[in-house]
Amino acid sequence: MIVERPRDLRVKKVLAHGFLILFLAFITFPFLMVVSISFREGNFTIGDIWPRNPTLEHWYLAFGLDYTRADGTVVEPPFPVMLWMWNSIKLGLFAGAGVLVISTVSAYAFSRIKFRGRTALLDGLFIIQMFPTTLALIALYAIFDSLGEVSPFLGIDSHMSVIMVYWSGVVLHIWTLKGYFDGIDTALDKAAAIDGATPWQTFRLVFLPLAVPMMAVIFVLVFIGAINDYPVASVLLRSEDNLTLAVGSRLYLNEFKYLWGDFAAAAILSGVPITFVFLIAQKYLVSGLGEGAVKG
């Protein structure tokens, strides 16, 4: 550990690097394959690892452009990938913003404002949230089916319905933010109170600015969670133009219509930005992870 012979150390280093490189080869294999497949001709071709006749056909289609093959046939994009991506981003942004509003306000109350039954309420919310929303899909379907009769805006196949379901997943974030607010010196709110601030003003002018870094983490978590969601969106969204990427992408690998090449290009196109967001944010995410966030 501390006293090691140089030769042993060198052997160990080589072994460690060797293992890690081998492991990484396995881990990155799917990514490399997808890149290769996206340039390969056709959707069925059993191709080589390095595409023999690289073509941009799948990429044209992924961007929603028609592609003219060498023999003059025009291929049209099978699915509106860019539209799906926009839908996903839209849902993610609205979900993130809503969750932030709801969770910061509540976390502040649970941390600072005294009212009867505060602990019991927080515990209660925690217990309710342990039942995953994905198990209550049937009821969600029935609820939004009824709300759709009131206004299609609130019903099945409307983005609003999906966003509202995402808004309800706030307890974990309330918990994280409450822990953060608990760590803030109470002298601050006393000073604010002496200056005549209402609790709302204390929240908005003192606590909210302090919580910005934490809010960024939560926003990214909710955003990624919304983009990755399959069960809720697959039940509540119906028409092709309203689908999110997660639901729509599945249509590529249908048993009857297997568009492997088109899927590969679309997957890279849509996966890269999200991956990028995640990698930038991950430095900050790790600290929040220990609080119990679970991602698939």
Binding site: L135, A136, W167, W200, Y230
Partner: protein
């Protein structure tokens, strides 16, 4: 807060604006509640009504100022988590399914709105285009021409008058294109008879199929058959025992549970699925934890260079949206032209049937889930490993303990307690990880000889999803009943987790 809020100088939105917003939202909620009541959804109506009243109270009276802060989160959770859970449980006691899909009122109004064509009044029609977006309907047999109509999809009524044949009649093909607008159009003949579009080329008067009798029974006008509503089964039955769809959903007590426990076509696959769910969740946690911890320890090693690059590359599976990686694996594992089988065939001459052999399919699911989940464990392990004091390890090493021994005797016992709640929540997450199953295998290959769709790789959650939203069946009631059983299991896991978490935080505070 003993002082009411308005004793403090107002720097916020003026009072009247606040009142206007509160009133508008309350009215909106009341409207939704009233409408839900109208369409025979009393349960949802009451819930929305309650939310509206509580909203008005909390935001209208300064006495409840403090509660305003928690109202949004509590309302969101009650509406979209608690209510659906409760409602799912209730559905478990009904026969809600594709056959019994409507409320009683709805089913009845569907039957009452059925119309049959009166053959004696059937006659061809043609459409005249007036050019300004309006049309006239021409009935050549009767020599009648309608007022100009717009033929949108909104309901429309127009009177007919005697007239000569108009110019600019559309061809039959163009007239068919206006079908949607024609179907919502009612024409009134000079005798006062209403006629409607009855076929591609004809208009006719439609007569209702059913007439309501005083005691709730319906009479089929064509043959005088009496239909009696059966509120045990949720169907109208004719005298001869014929079932008349559509059905409505009714409470059927414990029948769904009876089916689950006594129908071997459901019970046996369910036991298998339950066992697999537990094995899947436990194995996923074990594999991801083992791989993640190993990598975490390696990356923590002081003599290793290039840690930053390794770290970024190792995190990639976690960073890529999981639905994309899962679908990529679905393609790579494809039996006929998947790249994995190409390589395996080239190297070993085998082509494993990843999607049709149960054991291979399960192995595949575990491989993919380990690939997806180890970075999370690795990140956590790296965090916790930093918390292990160096001098403990040094002391043990000086005593001559090997590196493995130091790890198992010193490091692991120190990081395991804070890790425990996270492992349990990972177990709970995988217990219901239906995204993976639905996107990778859809539960296939199917178990043979079952009454409901059930697959070898189905976990309880995906099994329920397929019963409720599958291609072949939509048995919401049965799915609801199974969900209730899953809830019980989840409650147990959640309770264990809750206790572990409380203990974890107490320890952290105590240290």
């Amino acid at each position: 807060m003993s002082a009411p809020a308005d004793a403090i100088p107002q720097t916020e939105a003026p009072q009247y604006l606040r009142w206007a917003i509160v009133a508008a939202i309350t009215l909106g909620l009341l409207y939704v509640a009233f409408y839900l009541y109208l369409i025979a959804q009393p349960l949802f109506a009451v819930v929305i009504l309650a939310v509206g009243v509580i909203f008005a109270l909390i935001f209208g009276r300064n006495k409840y100022y403090n509660l305003r802060f928690v109202f949004p989160s509590v309302a969101a959770i009650l509406l979209f988590v608690a209510l659906p859970i409760g409602y799912t449980i209730w559905i478990g006691f009904t026969n809600y399914s594709s056959f019994n899909l409507l409320t009683f009122e709805r089913a009845k109004s569907v039957l009452m709105s059925r119309r049959s064509v009166d053959k004696s009044t059937e006659q061809p029609f043609a459409v005249a285009d007036l050019g300004d977006g309006t049309y006239q309907i021409w009935l050549p047999e009767a020599g009648l021409l309608s007022e100009p109509v717009s033929l949108t999809e909104a309901l429309e009524e127009a009177a007919l008058e005697k007239a000569g044949e108009p110019a600019s009649l559309l061809t039959a093909k163009d007239a068919i294109k206006l079908r949607a607008g024609l179907q919502t159009l009612t024409l009134l003949t000079p005798d006062g008879i209403a006629i409607q579009n009855s076929g591609l080329r004809t208009f006719a008067s439609l007569i209702p199929d059913y007439r309501e009798l005083e005691d709730g029974q319906l009479e089929r006008i064509a043959d005088g058959v009496i239909l009696t509503p059966d509120h045990e089964q949720g169907f109208y039955f004719a005298d001869n025992g014929e079932k008349i769809p559509p059905g409505w959903y009714v409470n059927i007590g414990w029948k769904n549970f009876d089916r689950i426990f006594n129908n071997s076509g459901i019970r046996e696959p369910m036991i298998g699925i339950f066992v697999w769910t537990v094995v899947f969740a436990a194995a996923s946690v074990a594999f991801t934890f083992a791989v993640g911890l190993l990598l975490g320890v390696m990356l923590q090693w002081e003599h290793l260079r290039g840690k930053a690059i390794y770290r970024i590359l190792l995190i990639l599976p976690y960073a890529v949206p999981s639905f994309i990686s899962i679908l990529v694996f679905r393609g790579l594992f494809n039996q006929n032209f998947g790249e994995i089988n190409l390589i395996l065939e080239a190297l070993f001459g085998v082509r494993p049937e990843w999607f049709t052999n149960a054991n291979l399919a399960r192995t595949m699911i575990l491989i993919v889930n380990t690939w997806l989940g180890y970075p999370y464990m690795m990140l956590l392990a790296m965090g916790f490993l930093q918390g292990v004091p160096q001098d403990h390890k040094k002391a043990a090493a000086l005593e001559g303990a090997s590196a493995t021994r130091v790890f198992f005797k010193i490091t692991l016992p120190q990081i395991l307690p804070p890790f425990m709640p996270l492992l349990i929540s990972s177990f709970a997450f995988n217990f219901n990880n239906m995204v993976l199953v639905l996107l990778l295998t859809r539960g296939l290959p199917d178990i043979v000889g079952t009454t409901v769709p059930a697959g070898q790789t189905d976990i309880l959650a995906s099994f329920t999803y397929r019963i409720a939203f599958g291609f072949s069946s939509t048995e919401f009631g049965l799915a609801g009943a199974i969900t209730l059983l899953i809830f019980v299991l989840v409650s147990v896991i959640s309770y264990v987790n809750f206790v572990a978490m409380r203990r974890g935080t107490e320890k952290r505070v105590g240290r």
